[in-house]
Symmetry: C2
Amino acid sequence: MKNRSIIATQKDYNVEKITKIAIAKGDGIGPEIMKATLKIMKAAGAKIETETIDVGEQVYLSGNSAGITDSAWDAISRNKIILKAPITTPQGKGYKSLNVTLRKSLGLFANVRPVTALHPFVKTNFPTMDIVVIRENEEDLYAGIEHRQTEDVVQCLKLITRPGCEKIVRYAFEYARAYNRKKVTCMIKDNIMKLTDGLFHTVFKEIALEYPEIESNSQIIDIAAAKVATVPENYDVIVTSNLYGDIISDIIAEIGGSVGMAGSANIGKNVAMFEAIHGSAPDIAGKKIANPSGLLNAAVMMLAHIGQPKVADRIKNAWLATLEAGIHTADVYQESVSSKKVTTEEFADAIIERLDSNPFKFPVSNLSKGSGTITIPEYKRKNSVKKLVGVDVFIDWKGNNPEAIGNNLSEIKSHNLKLKMITNRGVKVFPNGLKETYCTDHWRCRFVAQNAEIKTTEPHYETVEYEQVIALLSKLHQNDFDLIKTENLYEFDGIRGFSLGQGE
Amino acid sequence: MKNRSIIATQKDYNVEKITKIAIAKGDGIGPEIMKATLKIMKAAGAKIETETIDVGEQVYLSGNSAGITDSAWDAISRNKIILKAPITTPQGKGYKSLNVTLRKSLGLFANVRPVTALHPFVKTNFPTMDIVVIRENEEDLYAGIEHRQTEDVVQCLKLITRPGCEKIVRYAFEYARAYNRKKVTCMIKDNIMKLTDGLFHTVFKEIALEYPEIESNSQIIDIAAAKVATVPENYDVIVTSNLYGDIISDIIAEIGGSVGMAGSANIGKNVAMFEAIHGSAPDIAGKKIANPSGLLNAAVMMLAHIGQPKVADRIKNAWLATLEAGIHTADVYQESVSSKKVTTEEFADAIIERLDSNPFKFPVSNLSKGSGTITIPEYKRKNSVKKLVGVDVFIDWKGNNPEAIGNNLSEIKSHNLKLKMITNRGVKVFPNGLKETYCTDHWRCRFVAQNAEIKTTEPHYETVEYEQVIALLSKLHQNDFDLIKTENLYEFDGIRGFSLGQGE
């Protein structure tokens, strides 16, 4: 057995034991749907104890730009589990997104979004779709590290990390095993981004081997997005990086049509937060007509997470049976398929009446058929031998003839480094560029050791000392080159850790 | 009138004048569909003169890893316009993608992909969709500039440039005006990537003002992808960057269902290439059953591009009328909607018979109702005042306590620079980080001038000299910090050219 740290297991949240939950009642329809949700959970036998926290509109308006009080932070660190109704962020600048704050502050690395078709009560072209998207939540382009260093060019860093990939991929497979799912699909673009998306894909393939009972496959993100939009029935659990996950989960929510009834989770090592996807709908607040299904589905996810999957199934099945009985809140009500239009409270009571019923047409929820346990091992950093073999120096230059800058740089023989090539927007322009290549003012100039053998099919890079890099920068600067950034070139255990230029 | 360089106008390609075209007959079904396409173009009165070029399978197998002969390159530079049937790339390593080679070598900056529903002959849930995706083709993450510099972290650079944005956005509006389109939609993620996607969006808004007769709007890419997949009827021309365009165009092709009948174009300043989207289908080669529609639609795009939009309309309308008449090749034939199953040649003849017909149900093609002219001005680089105000030094460090590295770096007072903050994956961890933030071995350490005032809501950065940066790097290196990359911090005309850390 591997040594694993535990995110959430039945050991932690024994069904006999009561789990403490921080409750954010939210704004707009928030309090109404929270009341209904809590009533249903209680009737279903959920072993929870709630503590209300203050977040949202009133907190923002009191002058707290993050929308969350200190006592709410304390309650979250005591309770570890948050069930959150939608909040209203006031109009105007300076208010920070509460979700971003919570995600960043609490290390919520996984965003989990299940979408199940509810046809014919919610119209969709895909009546049998049932997908869970597990999206990496902390890295990728969304780290937001951007630099403008020339007149023409702006840059954003896409960071993909091995611990980040291991955590999210492991979570996806553990989720599948815990909640009785059959297949995990990985989405990447590693035919283009061989190192970054390549790492995500490599980690996926490594970890998939540990779950032989779960089917796994990988797809290139553009094809994957197209297939998700046309044959969503072919997907079960999807795991992907932050940007792709953002796009894919929105496509799935939209084609499923049930955004108003879906929940989502943000999972961290110590804390997890569950919420409805929809907003606070202030226009219908207080009218007693709000649909509590989104928050209720979030509560179902929460109950499974804290080791009460049987209670989760009981609620989910009663909810499905209620929908099938045609008992619908106003947002879902259609004369052709509904039997009765009900208030929020009547809807909750109808669910409670059906707590021992299963749906007859929708698939029965069977979360409790899985292992119920999710464990994520601590990341163990490997210890590769890292060898510096060169440096990419980026230069701001307003000329347009690559031969001019290339020949100038080639003459600079600084401390045993030599110019290997120059690219502009990734395309090699020196030596032997093509005259049609359009050149911006952003030149990436690759320097390696004088005696590196780099023209063969098996290039051999010599070790470079960082002092040589510093000396090179000094010399280039003395020669009036406008140096804007550097990227060191490394080998790890003899494997090249940098891409070649297009045409190199 | 602005001073504009011309990409393609009726002046260049006068309808009275014959335009020279390089023809690649391709592999598999390529020669058959090219023959049919040329026959239809000739019958419709296209003023073209063709020269055949050798590219594809036989060229690859002769030992040419790029799949294109020197004489083909010569013919392309003479003719400027390429009509290319699908080719077969042999199995095995070392063969380069011909399309990537052509795109990079010829500066083909715009990928243009129209998708029109052909319901009921091709099934789709969206029988009225009619979209053109115009995708930037040269930059973004697809420049493929990747570096691994620590055990944990790999990085890819997303480069967005003003000339790149101006060219593609201008092309989209010019395309709309030239070919009688009404609306251009821009897709970005500038709520997260404020500088890179922000630049694309800014350029879009600037250029849109010059086309008041064309409606324009912008959408965030995740919502946009979801809406494209569910209400594609709401879109007309879409313009976006490389990665988003890759995803969006695949979604649209798939939901439209007519991948087998669609053409696409790759447009450059001097050269343009037109082709079918589908492959060479070697399994049905020589059987006389191939559908020439994909290549024919590429030819329609080509004719419009070279200033013969009336000929283009004539062919397109005859083709639509033929489809409506139920005269279908085997791939489209269905008993319920077809009247006759025909060979490639019979299909071409049926189109030729209808060259003076319009479709009665499908919308009539009216490319010639637009201005017919596309002009793209030369990029004029502005000349902002660039001021160096600091540097982000990235350090490989295996510790996990941000206070430790932060305090050590704070003690280093090198040549009037001071540590401002440290982030890990974009989240501020020093000073005043949160203990829950997971830290990789990749630390971004921001240094600014000692006397910069940076704690106010209106920070004031002092000028830094690059010598100070070099001195800092030397000092950090002497203190055994493992420096892996640097990003200079600049202001342009007093505007900050770098993002703040999350939590900064």
